[in-house]
């Protein structure tokens, strides 16, 4: 076992790095096994056509436009880029190094008004590392600090450029389970009251902004926070609500009796399968971790890996995300999460997903849950040209991305980790120290 490793990252697609502007460019990727990302099963010998950074067609028998740059993906898989339904990527360089951590602001006087978009740094290493693995978009979620409301999250791309933001202020985030109880003063009852009170104040603000007297008399919300909650209470932006236990999920659904316009998206929902028909009837999407199967808290007693499958069987739209941690660095685990959902099909008594359903949870489902499925997440016509070519089944552990396109632009697949790998392919230094090997 003393073979000399080849320090090369085999790129199966012989493509020069596209540096030209996106405009007026047509790319056709042909011959690969094609997955659209909409829940359908993959098809052989598919073609994807991208014009000016957007998908114009994908499927079998799609004609290649004249003058298109042709990429032969024969023997490979072609899919939309992976989208993480829950992450903090771009907000963190090293998770436990506080100076590099911008996802949480427990000492800020603000809450709902906090907007992560200006804090997103496309140059943090986890962006490049996850891009290399085929992740092209992510839902970026602020962590709740002192309030139950964490602030406004963003949808970003993981491209190698400085324009990361796909949509700023794409949603609001609130804690209403165990964590929410803690932030509201100690109980879930207090958290519910806090939520109703603060949304009521946002309604007051909407009725007459000039008259709103932030944090005086009876008001708890600063003006900026009240203003930020207006589109939430009016249903103009989704509200991501983190709860796990089934009773909490029902309490969240019931909030719409008082605030009818709320566009709720459940986050976590480890016990969602227990109340899946109610979630489905309320047409509420869920962003879940998928593999949660331990009662790691008393709000996850019924956790099972079949949660996602059972909710989807009941008609719930489910996306996968890193709701259980590692959220700033391991977006690339999405494929493993989804693949495990497929594995459950072979377990008697478990509820798994078909390949197409599973792949949907990490592509179009996150986009649809956030209300941007018409723009992102699949290879249906009109979506952004986020395409990945893989050397095998993308859900399989042995597979890797060999080419990644974001908005139709081919991305570099090098990162700090690939450089460390190449430097230490042979551990001992040669004629000069390792520091000279770059």
């Amino acid at each position: 076992m003393m073979r000399r490793p080849l320090a090369l990252f085999a790129s199966v697609v012989a493509l020069s790095f596209v540096t030209a502007p996106v405009s007026a460019q047509t790319i056709a990727i042909t011959g690969g096994k094609l997955a659209i990302g909409d829940g359908s099963e993959p098809i052989d010998n598919g073609t994807v056509v991208i014009v000016n950074g957007k998908v114009v067609a994908a499927g079998a028998g799609v004609a290649v436009p004249a003058g298109a740059q042709r990429i032969d993906a024969t023997g490979q898989w072609v899919t939309p880029g992976i989208m993480s339904g829950f992450s903090r990527v771009g907000l963190v360089e090293v998770e436990a190094v506080g100076e590099t951590e911008d996802s949480e602001a427990p000492k800020s006087p603000f809450s709902a008004a906090i907007d992560v978009a200006p804090a997103v740094n496309p140059l943090v290493n986890p962006v490049a590392i996850n891009r290399t693995s085929g992740v092209t978009r992510a839902v970026v979620v602020p962590s709740a600090g002192a309030s139950i409301f964490a602030g406004q999250g963003a949808i970003i791309d993981l491209g190698a450029d400085m324009n990361a933001i796909t949509q700023a202020r794409a949603f609001q985030y609130v804690e209403l389970g165990e964590a929410g109880a803690d932030k509201a003063g100690g109980s879930r009852a207090a958290a519910q009251l806090m939520f109703r009170t603060l949304l009521g104040e946002a309604q007051d603000y909407a009725r007459n902004p000039a008259a709103y007297d932030g944090r005086s008399k009876d008001n708890l919300l600063l003006r900026a926070d009240a203003k930020a909650l207006v589109p939430v209470v009016q249903g103009k932006v989704p509200l991501l609500v983190h709860v796990e236990r089934s009773a909490d999920i029902l309490s969240v659904i019931a909030l719409r009796e008082e605030f009818a316009a709320l566009k709720i998206v459940l986050v976590g929902a480890s016990e969602g399968w227990r109340v899946a028909p109610q979630i489905a009837a309320a047409r509420i999407p869920v962003i879940a971790a998928g593999l949660t199967d331990l009662p790691s808290s008393f709000e996850k007693l019924a956790a099972t890996q079949s949660n996602v499958g059972r909710m989807m069987e009941a008609g719930v739209l489910v996306a996968l995300g890193l709701t259980e941690g590692n959220d700033a660095v391991q977006l690339r685990w999405a494929m493993q999460q989804a693949g495990n959902m497929v594995a459950l099909q072979k377990i008697p008594g478990a509820t798994g997903l078909s390949w197409g359903q599973a792949f949907r949870t990490i592509t179009s489902a996150p986009a649809e849950a956030l209300g941007v499925g018409d723009r992102l997440g699949s290879l249906r016509a009109g979506r952004v040209g986020d395409v990945v070519i893989w050397d095998g089944d993308p859900l399989e552990l042995s597979s890797a991305a060999t080419a990644v396109f974001i908005d139709g632009k081919q991305q570099p697949l090098e990162n700090r980790q690939t450089k460390l790998r190449d430097r230490y392919a042979i551990p001992a230094p040669g004629t000069l120290p390792k520091a000279y090997d770059h």
Binding site: R3, I129, D293, G349, A350
Partner: protein, 463 residues
Amino acid sequence: MRLKAISLCMPLLLAACASSSEEPKTASAKPSGSSTEPENPYPSTYAPYPGVPTAIRGATILDGEGGRIERGVVFLSGGKITAVGGPDTPIPADVAVFDGTGKYVTPGIIDIHSHLGDYPSPSVDALSDGNEATSPVTADVWAEHSIWPQDPGFSRALVNGGVTSLQILPGSANLFGGRGVTLKNVPARTQQGMKFPGAPYSLKMACGENPKRVYGAKGRQPSTRMGNIAVDRQTWIKARAYQIKRAANKEQMRDLAMETLADVLEGKILVHNHCYRADEMANVIDMSKEFGYKVTAFHHAVESYKIADLLKQNGICSAMWADWYGFKMESYDGIRENIPLVQNAGACAIVHSDDENGIQRLNQEASKARAAGKRMGIDIPEEVAWEWLSYNPAKAMGIADQTGSLKVGKMADVVLWNGNPFSIYTRPERVWIDGALMYDANDPKRRPVSDFELGQIGAGDTK
């Protein structure tokens, strides 16, 4: 939803792959001072459950020591592996025969780094018993005295992970965390009922960020990495003095911490050292030579790839994740090729979890590592990669003469997988421990439900 991995539960294990399996302290009680050091005061009460003679035929066998047999036969009886061979291996009449066509048979997975029972689910303060974070030197504590046998994590590791043995270590808040213990993954009322009979004890040590952070925050030594090593060295000086006196049968007061450290110095207890960075591992190696002990394995070891040659030279194993990085400063340089690069250098590689979720998917971690190696031209066959999951951890835990590979006479700790275990689509179908069928995917009655889960929503569900 903050990353649990940055908490103190991450121990640092140092195990030497090639360590021989010392017998646990047995006969010679050591007279020492006001009382006598007892032999094995918390003995294992584990006994194998009844099994029936069982043959699996037609499966691909990975024997755990680099061997591979297509359409092979594995025969278990009397709790032991009694035959392993090709398609023509005779199968006695009147035994249970399972058709393994299209499936794989492997040794049970052994997790060398777990905190199940010590940091159980539910993760509430009342059950959080993994770090005695009151002093940087707590060599006196034993992880087994914190184990809550009702942790549902044990059952998940069995049914989803195919884990048949595991080492429970104290956390890594302390430089000397205390004694670790090896368990059979068989539910029991007590920790003694899970204890792997005759397995050597381990000592958990930690370098790096955790000890200096925990004690620096308390305004005491260590608050730096140099403080870490200084406290370590001072402690070894004391331990050597104790050990010399004990060996000479000289009168001295019993000291629990010193008893453990003296056993390390006499090679009876294996050192498992949590350590991320290459430079720190090198410091620890020198320290072990200064004081005359052996590091069995470095745990976490995200930078082993930078010093794989040094680790090989010193016969020290690395217990690693496939792809963890970036969750703390000392994990910043983690790369997915760490495991294959260690293997490629001829050093001992182990896949570990340190995590109640990761322990359910160690085969998947090995697969990711193998794939990363292959992409850089290091092609490690499946049957060799399986050594990371069973035989190498068994060696580093001193139990390789009893389990960790499918060799005749060894414990029948066996997993039948419903496909290739390097595939994402594969799960355990049946798991035998000492020849007893402890999990059967087709039989809900062969799926353990801990007291904690019994009578709760979801009890007995497929998890």
